[in-house]
């Protein structure tokens, strides 16, 4: 099955940040970090706790404005754009703790994420066109849920799902926005091996569809299995980047992270 929802642009696109920095109080969360995420690329960000990984995702998704440096999307400077604008432009993120509407059904969560809904304008809410579009959107969202492996869970409450299934719903929400760049904060944390494999299969398929994925992960096996490139962070700086085997052979990486 190929995913025709949402559409993926064919042109070569990239998301990058140039020399971005962010401090919290006196602590440098991110210092002079530059990185680039290309179309159809999967990049893993690894590093010890407090290395600045989540802050980097916050910057890339517009949730945190860097004190210096630039954020570029397809060559355009989007530094300081509000996070909802960045999401509309195609950069969507998940959170370390699963953020979903827990008392809503799975399909309602994904419907919420669906972009360009006529019924989301206050006057559109009264029109028949929005109701027709809602039927179509619901069908599309159900296909999307099937794609991520949540067949049969469409009408379940999110709170009734396992942690792993909730992570898949988060991923489906990201996809429903039409995102081309997915920022995933620890997508495998708390999952058992089978669930890790399921998520990895989905991410591979998304890569083949043309999406770019940047994910934070501590599970080296999952990183090795999935990532084209690894970015190692420590104390807010990029310690190393490149293919995982090359990076892990470096003594400074072993000392900072693996030791």
């Amino acid at each position: 099955m190929t995913l025709d929802f949402p559409p993926v642009l064919d042109e070569v696109k990239c998301l990058s940040c140039e020399r971005v920095s962010k401090h919290y109080g006196g602590i440098a969360a991110v210092q002079n970090v530059s990185c680039r995420l290309d179309c159809k690329q999967i990049v893993a960000v690894i590093g010890p706790n407090g290395a600045g990984k989540t802050t980097l995702i916050n910057i890339l998704s517009g949730f945190v404005r860097p004190e210096s440096g630039r954020l570029l999307l397809d060559g355009y400077d989007i530094t300081g754009r509000p996070p909802h604008d960045v999401a509309v432009m195609g950069v969507c993120r998940t959170f370390q703790e699963v953020r979903l509407l827990r008392e809503a059904t799975v399909v309602e969560n994904v419907l919420l994420a669906r972009s360009t809904q006529a019924g989301e304008s206050i006057f559109g809410a009264f029109g028949g066109a929005s109701r027709r579009q809602e039927v179509e959107n619901r069908r599309n969202c159900q296909e999307l849920l099937d794609f991520v492996g949540l067949e049969g869970c469409h009408s379940h409450l999110v709170s009734a799902l396992s942690f792993g299934q909730q992570k898949l719903v988060s991923l489906a929400c990201c996809l429903a926005t039409g995102a081309r760049f997915l920022m995933l904060d620890e997508p495998f944390a708390g999952l058992h091996r089978r669930e890790v494999n399921d998520v990895a299969v989905v991410l591979r398929r998304l890569q083949q569809e043309g999406r770019a994925i940047l994910f934070i992960e501590h599970d080296v096996a999952a990183v090795r299995e999935l990532a084209d490139s690894v970015l190692v962070m420590d104390e807010g700086r990029i310690l190393a980047q490149g293919p995982i085997d090359e990076v892990l052979r470096r003594s400074d990486v072993a000392e900072a992270y693996l030791a």
Partner: protein, 290 residues
């Protein structure tokens, strides 16, 4: 009969207000203390236009709605800067400012003496004189408000409002401009409150600032909470229940000097009982949906 009709009309006006407030309290999850102020803006606008310009009911309703929406813009401005508890304080400030305006712009509102001689509503060539006809008009106005609110709340727009209530950061991460949704909800709610104000002014035929105090705003919140926030029938049930309770106290024979205090005590007790036993209200739902 006349008394019963008066109580029913009053219940309809309060139900319209509770329905309007439910959009903010129930769906967006923001406690607004300014609903009585918006109600008052609608009432004064309708009263003054009907007295000085002899405008018909539909025209006064339209201008009342626009006036209330414009004043709610102040609350929206506050929403750009303030969140959660601070926004509640902002709405409290708006309530106080508008109430002070009613009392002190004597040249316009006649201050504490109020505005009297408001004509009965005129619909094209028909002036609604009897209480029965006015009750029918109030029911129609309530039905329209209720239907509009339910269309909004069950639409994708309403879904975003509920998402903002549950987790604004999550809604933002999905590309929703939550501030725009909040401002539109404020405006829509204010429009309904302004419409209720216009209806009330034409019915009471005399209005003064004492009808639009902070106490009224708190009473409206009680109606929404007791009835069931974010539910189809909750605000209507809450409004009818509290108006019926208020009127019922008249028959107990309490001395006038203590009846107001007893009423406040009963509201408090009822709120505690409802929150403890039915946290979603008398007819509230227990899930994210409508």
């Amino acid at each position: 009969m006349e008394y019963i009709l008066r109580v029913l009309v009053l219940s309809c006006v309060y139900a319209m207000l509770a329905v309007s407030l439910d959009l903010i309290v129930g769906y967006v999850g923001i406690l607004s203390l300014a609903q009585a102020a918006l109600f008052g803006i609608g009432a004064y606008t309708s009263a003054l236009l009907a007295i000085h310009w002899q405008l018909g009911f539909l025209s006064t309703q339209f201008v009342s709605i626009v006036a209330a929406v414009l004043v709610s813009g102040l609350l929206s401005l506050a929403a750009f800067r303030l969140k959660e508890d601070y926004l509640v304080i902002g709405s409290f400030g708006l309530q106080l400012i508008v109430y002070s305006g009613f009392r002190n712009f004597v040249w316009l509102t006649n201050g504490p003496d109020g505005v009297g001689g408001i004509p009965r509503p005129r619909l094209l060539f028909w002036t609604i004189e009897s209480d029965g006809a006015f009750f029918a008009l109030a029911v129609v106005c309530l039905a329209v408000s209720w239907q509009l609110k339910n269309m909004i709340s069950s639409s994708p727009f309403g879904r975003v409002l509920r998402a903002i209530r549950e987790d604004e950061t999550f809604a933002t991460s999905l590309g929703k401009n939550t501030m725009v949704f909040k401002c539109l909800a404020f405006a829509f709610s204010a429009g309904l409150a302004g419409s209720a104000g216009g209806l009330y002014a034409h019915y009471a035929r005399f209005i003064d600032p004492s009808s639009f105090t902070l106490d009224e705003s708190v009473l409206l919140i009680s109606m929404v909470v007791i009835g069931g926030p974010a539910s189809v029938w909750g605000p209507v049930a809450g409004a009818f229940a509290l108006v019926a309770m208020q009127e019922g106290l008249r028959f107990i024979g309490l001395p006038a000097s203590t009846s107001a205090q007893v009423r406040q005590l009963l509201y408090g007790a009822l709120l505690i009982v409802i929150v403890a036993t039915r946290p979603k209200g008398l007819v509230g739902t227990y899930r994210f949906g409508r």
